[in-house]
Amino acid sequence: MITIVDYGLGNIKAFVNVYKRLNIPIRIARESIDLKNATHIILPGVGAFDYAMAKLNASGMREELEKQVIINKIPILGVCVGMQILGKSSEEGNSVGLGWIDGEVKRLDTKLIPYKTKLPHMGWNTVSISKGSELFYNIINNSRFYFLHSYYFYCRNNEDIVNTTKYGIDFASAILHENIYGVQFHPEKSHSNGIGLLQNFARL
């Protein structure tokens, strides 16, 4: 069953509502036993990098999560800060990330943003195919998704970049390494494109 990690961050309810509408069963994991039968895992997140790592480490679920993702190769989707903590570190804080995808989280360069509004990067922006993945099956290239963040995932390996988005720089808005997926935008709040993406994830 699709299992969403509830470690006290992110809009769990929004994901549940989307999957309910799709008639796809979903379970909320609050302790490690809840992750045991997961076929797909969603790691949501809103807020700061260090706070997310602290909450995940304190949840008691990290060990089981690592086992499922690294050993059992269960597909996992990190969303927003849930994507960022897949990396090794972040300019936003001092905590060590999960390090499952080689890269660091950096702050978007405001000097390159041509608007009076700088950060956070907030609103609907286009997501362009870099190498593409099944996650975007049936989603037209350059579709819009909802973003709300000030930091982005800098990939050490270009082949891990699935899609990019321009805000000042072109940053990786979707990444993939083996069974580990991450999206910087919020599919749970991105209308039909987001629903399509979450449905695609469930079919992996």
Binding site: P114, Y115, K116, K118, M122, W124, Y146, K189
Partner: protein
């Protein structure tokens, strides 16, 4: 390319939706959940829902309504009205709301707002400021409790301070232009825009998509919010929930945004 946001703003009064003129004469325009269903179909960028009774009646936020709204919304939802404590804010987020709007609490107790921000992240906190022009017309003042209480605070000074405190977004609402549908208060917007670099959403006065276009031409990335424009149709103000279609929105962006001077992106 990032687009400016076009945001319907709905007011809740006695559990129904209303639209006011200059913060007075609330006219019933429908059921909140039904409106959200229509806005889902129209794929709106975001939605702001403000309970205009809660702070005045000193009542708790209507959690059942908020839960139902959040469950229905397929786009980011900002809820405001009656939020006075950290516990209330955390509970509202747990119901599935992305952003909460704070208004009178900013004036009454800024330290609680900071505490809320620590728990949920500053980017999820939106400050809504209701501003009114002085009689002389030379400056603005922040009002709270639906425009009934003057605070003596200049919104232009306040927004700079709020940015320093790490607030994620400002919504500036013109009391004078509310419901008039004669266009935004561009003077107020200019002053506030120049004071901050965090996301700004403006509200009060939009009567046509052209009003939104003019705003976008001038400021590029901005939140263009409107009440009357998205709940009334025609000169007799028949109630009809509406929003530009994807192609109307693209046409608006082509005309006002993509070629505007504020868009220097290649």
């Amino acid at each position: 390319m990032l687009y400016p946001r076009i945001i319907p703003c709905l007011l809740v009064h006695n559990r129904g939706l209303v639209k006011t003129v200059k913060f007075k004469s609330p006219k019933y325009v429908g059921d909140p959940i039904n409106a959200v269903k229509i806005f889902n179909e129209k794929e709106v960028d975001e939605l702001i829902v403000l309970d205009i009774d809660a702070s005045i009646n000193k009542s708790e936020p209507d959690y059942k309504l908020i839960e139902n709204l959040a469950a229905e919304c397929r786009m980011p939802l900002c809820y405001g009205g009656g939020i006075k404590t950290v516990e209330q804010a955390v509970r509202i987020f747990s119901l599935g709301v992305e952003k909460i709007a704070i208004s009178s609490l900013i004036v009454e107790n800024l330290s609680i707002v900071k505490e809320i921000a620590k728990m949920v992240g500053t980017q999820s906190i939106v400050v809504v400021l209701d501003a009114k022009k002085s009689i002389k017309g030379d400056k603005y003042e922040v009002y709270i409790h639906n425009g009934s209480v003057a605070t003596g605070i200049d919104p232009v000074c306040l927004v700079g301070e709020l940015e320093n405190q790490g607030i994620g977004e400002i919504v500036i609402n013109s009391i004078d232009n509310d419901g008039t549908m004669n266009g935004y208060d561009m003077d107020l917007i200019e002053k506030v825009r120049n004071a901050i670099s965090i996301p700004l959403t403006v509200l009060g006065g939009a009567g046509t998509l052209d009003d939104i276009g003019q705003l976008i031409r001038k400021y590029g990335i901005i939140g263009a919010a409107a009440g009357s424009l998205f709940v009334f149709k025609g000169k007799f103000r028949a109630v009809l929930i509406n929003y530009p279609t994807q192609s109307e929105k693209e046409a608006l962006m082509d005309k006002y945004f993509k070629n505007s001077l504020s868009t220097m992106e290649n």
